[in-house]
Symmetry: C2
Subunit: 348 residues, 2 copies
Amino acid sequence: MNDYRGKRIIVTGGLGFIGSNLAIRLVEAGASVTIIDSRVPGCGANLFNIAPIVPGIDLIESCIGDVERFASALKEADAIFNLAGEISHSRSMDDPERDLYLNTVTQLRFLLACRANCPGARILYASTRQIYGKPVYLPVDEQHPVQPIDFNGVHKCAATQYHLLLARRGDLDCRVLRLSNVYGPRMALHLPQQGFLGVYVARALNGEPIVVYGDGEQLRDPVHVDDVVEVFLRAGLAPDLKSRVFNVGGPQPVTLNEIAAAAARQSGRSPIHHLPFPEHLIRMDIGSYFSDLTRTQRELGWVPSIEFEAGLKGTLAYYREHRDRYFGFTKQPELPTAARLEYPAVTQ
Amino acid sequence: MNDYRGKRIIVTGGLGFIGSNLAIRLVEAGASVTIIDSRVPGCGANLFNIAPIVPGIDLIESCIGDVERFASALKEADAIFNLAGEISHSRSMDDPERDLYLNTVTQLRFLLACRANCPGARILYASTRQIYGKPVYLPVDEQHPVQPIDFNGVHKCAATQYHLLLARRGDLDCRVLRLSNVYGPRMALHLPQQGFLGVYVARALNGEPIVVYGDGEQLRDPVHVDDVVEVFLRAGLAPDLKSRVFNVGGPQPVTLNEIAAAAARQSGRSPIHHLPFPEHLIRMDIGSYFSDLTRTQRELGWVPSIEFEAGLKGTLAYYREHRDRYFGFTKQPELPTAARLEYPAVTQ
């Protein structure tokens, strides 16, 4: 596969933040795109995200675990960008079994269906820096110990291992990207559990206070979604690779204070508030993190190109133009807690 | 907790191989023991294993995921030896979701119930060297990369991470032992999927050929169950520890050829057959493995004391005395494939 023109591509979680940006770029590149997305409440699916490519893609509304609903689409796939999942750390602590279902159980079913239906397809999985836990050294490379500090990290780790195990066995050609904090157009701004960058963007947009917990000197390496899309596309086209796991992060480490200051500048209205670290957050805090991108640059020829403040400026411009599509509500929507995810019995 | 006298101890999987040996020693040490065991077919539960301590213990026949069935027992527990699970690598490849349920889903439910009911109890978890996968160096210490090569390894790894995550948060006092190949009295000899040591013992007992695949030069460090019981007891009594993960292996590495030769000698009748490695096994083979026990010795003061051939001799003596309790059938029992494990829906 040299380029995406005419290729049949599946994007799971394609209505979400990164998935929709990727689907748009794939359509622009001439691919035939099928999105599989369950629109599970709380996970960031937003039909408006794919407005630029509707009609022109296929959308299968299905959990990735309900494999019989899209087996025929799998059979024709040249590559699968596997971005479905729940990313909220805090919600995984509130309801660990929901997170286990969304990030592990369904991924197992999905990958077994891929093995049965499209063993030749390339599979690109969106993993997360969260599985490293609290860094024991910086920058964090792909050999860093895996010691997640929340259930979301455990479950994404298990799904990562499924991909790597099936690759090691020669069953599937999987490649795994471990994403740092991603920002840009099409984030679910109304879901504060999806990360502090979305919260900062939302507050900058609304001129509300931007809150920094603790001394604000923790480092992060925010990466723009356009850069992330680029590295996914490269990972999908790369022929045989030496490695199967690649860190993906931003162009440089910045402190939370710097991130907050940039957001306040771009807002023009938001003040910055410093508050003590709340107890429930301190127990999930990882201190400073930034990625060692040496392997990704060497094997995929990719470096992040979008400086944080420039990327933030464009991000805010996007939301100013489409505010009503991301802020039709000021609070997060009520989750239907009485509803149940499909979780069939397992034969022994 | 200085000793086990008068202490209330729960052993999950207490009808199985290691769990039953542990329960017997705990009763001898004066503990009040409750066994929780689901007797799920294929996992090695055998009521005869606890014959020496019946009556005198409480037995709750329950999956560890059905937490409402034993919440009151949890409330009184001083320590929990958590050995429930499925250990078969090959069966996890045949039915990954069964393995996910038995080793991960139910462990999550169990640990959350422990957090709710007995946050002060010490929890000792039986993990496995399997999560290390194919060693990248020898001997394997606790820092070795985790890269399981079968689903069983992925799921035991996730359960290990649950224990460590809850310990890191200060929610539960968990300690994890990563077991090498364990042998001794009370193995499920009729279940060949539970490891080659049980198969060798069974064949030696019956005078059947002992089969070595490949050149037989792969190393293992078999450890006798009495040594394993001893390290579990020590880990349960140790006050604050620097580490939470400890390797447990045998006194020295031996080749499969040496293990087979010892089994043949102790049998007096079994020939040794060399066969090429079958394809389905070669893909799960980890090459050579033996444990670095430095940390375990330093922090728990434990070293394995039982030499392999002496341990094997005693093991065969046990099964010769109780053959009908472990060999009432010559083949493995039919698993009720139509039966279903309880796998309730998950609220979102």
